[in-house]
């Protein structure tokens, strides 16, 4: 199972041990570099000179990948990016299989519309990552900027499958328009998490910002450390122990999230909403003893 592979990569083995095709950024810069099309399924198994001659965008220009990255082939387990990659965008865009490891931080649009495979990022990632993601797994060891898993501009449906595990905090509008899948955040979530959510599950181990779930139709937002402000269109229903959450917590435990006994066996206050929309969504807030 992909998530177990990533768990093994992230939590049990050093990513330094993975062998594959390494693309090391030659020089930092401010001009955005877009590496859409540079995917494990297209790169692994090829020779270094073939990879170097792939075309990528640097700003408005199309250049050879080898002009920007040093290519080293010593295996075929994963595609590895190295260097200060904050301006490198579209890593893993439309990916369908394989493993990408980012040794450092990455720029915007990582994992956009990916449908399979796994991406592991050792640092932070930019805004608008995993937009309209359909499947696969993304693990981020650092923080994520705004609009994780959101729709692309002009669209209404965001992430529709897969799992995103963030071991830092996330910015605003995380899981906007989410249609399916799981987003788990170890740190805090910014405002408007799950806004206009259609379905799916967001689990926040830290604090949940204001106006979470605004406009949500269905889906679940689980707040384990509290919520800044519950929207007035959410109404308290009951306090209970949702059995289904135990499945999710087992799943997240395998990723390395710290699911304590208090969380696992805890009771949750259920707020239904958003009543200004369909109103079949829920916010579950862990009741602290």
């Amino acid at each position: 199972m992909q998530s177990c592979v990533l768990c093994a990569l992230a939590r049990k083995f050093s990513v330094d041990k993975i062998k594959g095709v390494t693309l090391a950024l030659k020089k930092c810069g401010a001009i955005p570099i877009e590496v859409d099309g540079v995917l494990p399924e297209l790169v692994l198994g090829r020779k270094a000179h073939e990879i170097s001659s792939m075309k990528i965008n640097v700003g408005k220009e199309k250049v050879d990948l080898g002009d920007v990255f040093e290519v080293k082939c010593d295996g075929d387990e994963a595609l590895i990016f190295e260097g200060d990659l904050n301006h490198v965008k579209r890593i893993g865009e439309l990916m369908s299989s394989g493993i990408i490891v980012v040794r450092g931080s990455a720029g915007m649009h990582l994992g956009e519309r990916m449908s399979g495979g796994s991406v592991y990022v050792d640092g932070d990632i930019g805004a608008r990552c995993c937009c309209e993601m359909r499947g696969g797994t993304v693990v981020v060891n650092g923080n994520v900027q705004a609009m994780l898993g959101s729709p692309l501009p002009g669209n209404t449906k965001g992430m529709r499958g897969g799992t995103i595990a963030v071991f830092g905090s996330v910015g605003a509008r995380t899981g906007e328009g989410m249609r399916r899948g799981v987003i788990a955040v170890l740190g805090d979530a910014g405002d408007f998490a799950g806004v206009n959510m259609i379905a799916g599950t967001i689990v926040v181990f830290g604090n949940l910002g204001s106006n979470a779930g605004g406009g949500m139709k269905r889906g679940s937002i689980i707040a384990l450390e509290g919520v800044e402000k519950i929207p007035p269109t959410f109404l308290y229903a009951c306090t209970y122990k949702p059995t289904y959450l135990r499945l999710y917590f087992n799943y997240l435990r395998n990723f390395g999230f710290p699911v304590t006994d208090e969380i696992y066996e805890g009771s949750f206050r259920r707020y239904i909403g958003d009543l200004s929309s369909l109103g079949k969504g829920e916010m579950l807030i862990l009741e602290k003893s």
């Binding site: 199972m1 998530s3 399916r180 899948g181 799981v182 379905a199 599950t201 269905r218 679940s220 009951c238 209970y240 122990k241 949702p242 059995t243 289904y244 135990r246 499945l247 999710y248 087992n250 799943y251 696992y264 079949k280 829920e282």
Partner: protein, 296 residues
């Protein structure tokens, strides 16, 4: 063959292909899970009269269940996919969902799938919610103590129904003792159930009847009171017979169960052990007693 003073007939049990499914029932306590499992597998001794054959397979530690709560696994066998689906929907809906704190999961990666949770969800009256996790869909049905969680699809695989052992003894007491000891040993085998009450059949049947409206009737060759009225299969000295019927998910499970059953029986005060068959013309499987015993 004589083993431990017990005569083992040189014969075989003739068994049939059936479709099997496994439910994992969990609850807040083991007692509640067992209550649900017992209810769900009641009135399920034979497909002919009950629609399916069902029984409790094993108790499950919290570590072995999907939600980390105490559980029980149950096997249900039917003759067709549609029949099995109807039975599962009815039993999960009426006997498991109705029991406090339970949840019900699929316990078998089968060759085919049947839709159980997906049909039961309508009980939620449009307030049910679906959750998709790791490629599996679950339904959360609102009920009076919170939610009933049920997996949408349940796996089905080809299994075996009708493995059997017939224990012949001098009286009811010794025959029953041997049967119960065998049942206790056989229940430890994974992948099988013993669908009859306590795992034991006292009213074994044969194909056909004097009456044209009946397809099966009492097993007259093994009825002690009819010894002088019918062609008997009873040696002298036998005054009681009990049968143990085994349904299993695969041949090995049935074979293993019959093997441990035979060993247990042969440690008791019984006269002989035999098995029921139809001349080998009906069933797809044959379990030879001598072969099984030799392999133990």
């Amino acid at each position: 063959m004589i083993f431990n003073g017990v005569e083992i007939d040189d014969t075989y049990a003739e068994a049939f292909s059936m479709l099997g499914s496994r439910l994992v029932i969990t609850a807040d306590t083991f007692e509640l899970a067992m209550i649900a499992a017992t209810s769900a597998t009641g009135f399920a001794t034979s497909v002919i009269g009950c629609g399916c054959e069902a029984g409790i397979e094993s108790e499950l530690d919290p570590a072995r269940t999907p939600d980390g709560r105490p559980g029980v696994s149950v096997l249900i066998f039917g003759v067709s996919l549609s029949a099995l689906e109807s039975q599962l929907i009815a039993r999960v809906g009426q006997a498991i969902m109705t029991c406090p704190t339970t949840a019900c999961y699929n316990g078998l990666e089968g060759e085919k799938e049947i839709n159980v949770g997906g049909k039961l969800r309508y009980f939620g009256d449009s307030y049910q919610a679906s959750k998709m996790l790791d490629g599996k869909r679950f339904w959360r049905i609102p009920v009076m103590d919170g939610e009933f969680l049920v997996q949408e699809k349940f796996g089905v695989k080809k299994g075996i129904g009708g493995g059997n052992l017939l224990i012949l003894a001098k009286d009811v007491t010794s025959c029953l003792e041997a049967a119960q000891k065998a049942v206790k040993a056989m229940k430890k085998i994974e992948g099988i159930i013993l669908p009859f009450p306590g795992g034991i059949v006292r009213s074994g049947s044969k194909v056909g009847s004097t009456y044209p409206f009946l397809t099966a009737s009492t097993n007259t060759p093994f009825c002690p009171t009819l010894r002088r009225q019918v062609i008997t299969s009873l040696p002298e000295g036998v005054n009681a017979v009990y049968e143990i019927v085994i349904d299993g998910l695969d041949e090995k499970a049935v074979r293993d169960a019959m093997g441990v059953g035979l060993l247990s029986i042969c440690s008791c005060d019984v006269i002989s052990v035999t098995a029921g068959n139809y001349g080998g013309t009906l069933g797809q499987y044959k379990f030879f007693l001598h072969e099984i015993l030799k392999n133990m």
